[in-house]
């Protein structure tokens, strides 16, 4: 699984960082970005989906 934060849409609600700090980080200006080039290890796939479902701005994209 592959994840990506759409920087245009992200407004820094920090939900992804709170729910899956292994997958996302957020900078001082509220811009979130994916860690590890967006590669999600199988055991974290559930959390990646959780982060996506909790992003108020629909900014998290999941691919294969």
């Amino acid at each position: 699984m592959q994840i990506r934060v759409d920087a245009e849409k992200c407004q820094g609600h920090s939900r992804c960082y709170a729910l899956a700090p292994e997958l996302f980080d957020i900078d001082d200006y509220g811009n979130a970005h994916e860690l590890n080039d967006g590669v999600v290890p199988p055991e974290l796939e559930v959390r990646a989906r959780l982060a996506q479902a909790n992003c108020p701005e629909f900014a998290i994209i999941i691919g294969d």
């Binding site: 407004q11 820094g12 609600h13 920090s14 939900r15 960082y17 709170a18 957020i26 900078d27 001082d28 200006y29 509220g30 959780l50 479902a53 909790n54 992003c55 108020p56 701005e57 629909f58």
Partner: protein
């Protein structure tokens, strides 16, 4: 204070968000609007003309559309900004950046504040917030009947922001009164409001000047040293920003904590679940934010504009009811049920788009710790049925009196 326009008979054509009947029956009102109208946007001639969209899609569309909708004023009042202040600060800055600003200036004003409210700056406040919560409970003594809004929820955000700003903590009452003036007295006449503003302005000047003379490691000194487009902020801009932080951060968080405790006082099963399993609190707090979202914002229509068949006029108000968006069945399963372990919850309690609440990391931390400490110290409590719960009116919604009977303490 109730609206000056009097009771509402038709919520679709004559709504009034500041009538006590609005907050008291808000779910019914939204449901009726959704069921009756093809395109549910309510209108009123009150306030010189205002609109109320209620679906998540419409609220999102307006929040994202800074071209047709300006943030020049985000609190609906009986006077339009152009009448209130014939020479307003030039757009896109507004009188309380960044909340009153539009692009492109908005990003500059916001950039200045963002680092001070990032998770990594806010998280270290947790022990201090916890200490404040415990102290408030200590101060209640052994009594059985307390007011969880007045004696607890209300004080937490005030005490926290006073410490962050480096202001005397004993001045909390001054902040609170000032915030009420701004948020709850939309119907008072202009002279009365201005006179009250002046008193607070003088107080602020004293505090800011003291920080100019004695810089220290706090938010006020941070603001005095900060630069916007290469220039240091004037003391007036610093004062204006402090006012914004007080107005934006106090009644809102008070409401968020109060509504959470109101829910727990009224729901024994949910209360038990969180007492037995405090690790669930953060997920529950997100659900309280969704179901009892405290804040409705507003925009002004920039120029005459057709919004899905609704003829909006220049300088009409448009409310942004994030609480209504949070109950949209198209976005949330079982939207009208409060499900404290709801896993998928992209609620919009902190807004959508470029004005996303700057204090959201702080507000969440305060709400989480406030609920956690309350449940830890009072593992059982219930509404004190012999007294009435009262709710605020206007754009910030939360309990203002929350009489509770404590039935277990530790």
């Amino acid at each position: 204070m109730p609206s000056i326009y009097g009771p509402v008979t038709d919520w679709a054509s004559d709504f009034d968000h500041a009538e006590p009947a609005y907050n008291a029956n808000v779910h019914q009102i939204w449901d009726d609007l959704l069921n009756k109208q093809q395109c549910p946007v309510a209108h009123t001639e009150r306030y010189g003309g205002a609109w109320l969209p209620i679906t998540h899609e419409h609220v999102r569309e307006i929040a994202y559309d800074t071209e047709h909708f300006t943030s020049r004023s985000v609190v609906v009042g009986v006077t339009k900004p152009s009448q209130f202040d014939p020479q307003p600060p030039p757009s896109p800055i507004g009188n309380a950046p960044p909340i009153s600003s539009d692009p492109p200036f908005h990003a500059e004003a916001r950039r200045l504040l963002l680092p001070a409210f990032s998770p990594k700056k806010i998280d270290p406040w947790a022990p201090e917030i916890r200490r404040i919560c415990h102290q408030l409970i200590d101060e209640m003594g052994d009594v059985q009947f307390i007011d969880a809004a007045q004696q607890y929820s209300q004080d937490i955000p005030v005490q926290v922001i006073a410490r962050m700003l480096g202001f005397p903590v004993e001045d909390a009452d001054k902040f609170r009164n000032f915030v009420h003036l701004v948020l709850e007295s939309v119907n008072e006449d202009r002279e009365t409001r201005l006179a009250k503003f002046m008193i607070f302005d003088e107080y602020l000047t004293v505090q800011v000047n003291d920080h100019i003379l004695n810089p220290r490691d706090d938010l006020t000194t941070y603001l005095l040293n900060a630069e916007i487009m290469g220039n240091k902020l004037s003391p007036e801009h610093v004062g204006g920003t402090i006012i914004l932080l007080l107005v934006a951060g106090i009644d809102t968080t008070w409401s968020g904590i109060g509504s959470s405790l109101w829910h727990l006082a009224s729901n024994a099963v949910d209360r038990r679940r969180l007492v037995d399993n405090p690790a669930m609190i953060p997920v529950a707090v997100e659900e309280f934010l969704r179901a009892y979202a405290p804040v409705t914002m507003a925009r002004l229509v920039r120029e005459d504009f057709d919004f899905h068949g609704h003829a909006m006029k220049e300088e009409d108000w448009v409310l942004l009811p994030f609480p209504a968006a949070n109950r949209d069945p198209k976005v949330f399963d079982n939207a009208d049920a409060v499900i404290i372990d709801r896993q998928e919850n992209r609620h919009a309690a902190f807004g959508l788009g470029i004005h996303r609440c700057l204090g959201s990391n702080l507000a969440r931390l305060e709400m989480n710790i406030a609920v956690e400490v309350f449940l830890e110290r009072f593992p059982d409590f219930e509404l004190n049925e012999s007294e009435e719960v009262t709710w605020s009116v206007g754009q910030v919604r939360g309990p203002r009196k929350l009489p509770v009977r404590v039935t277990a303490r530790s």
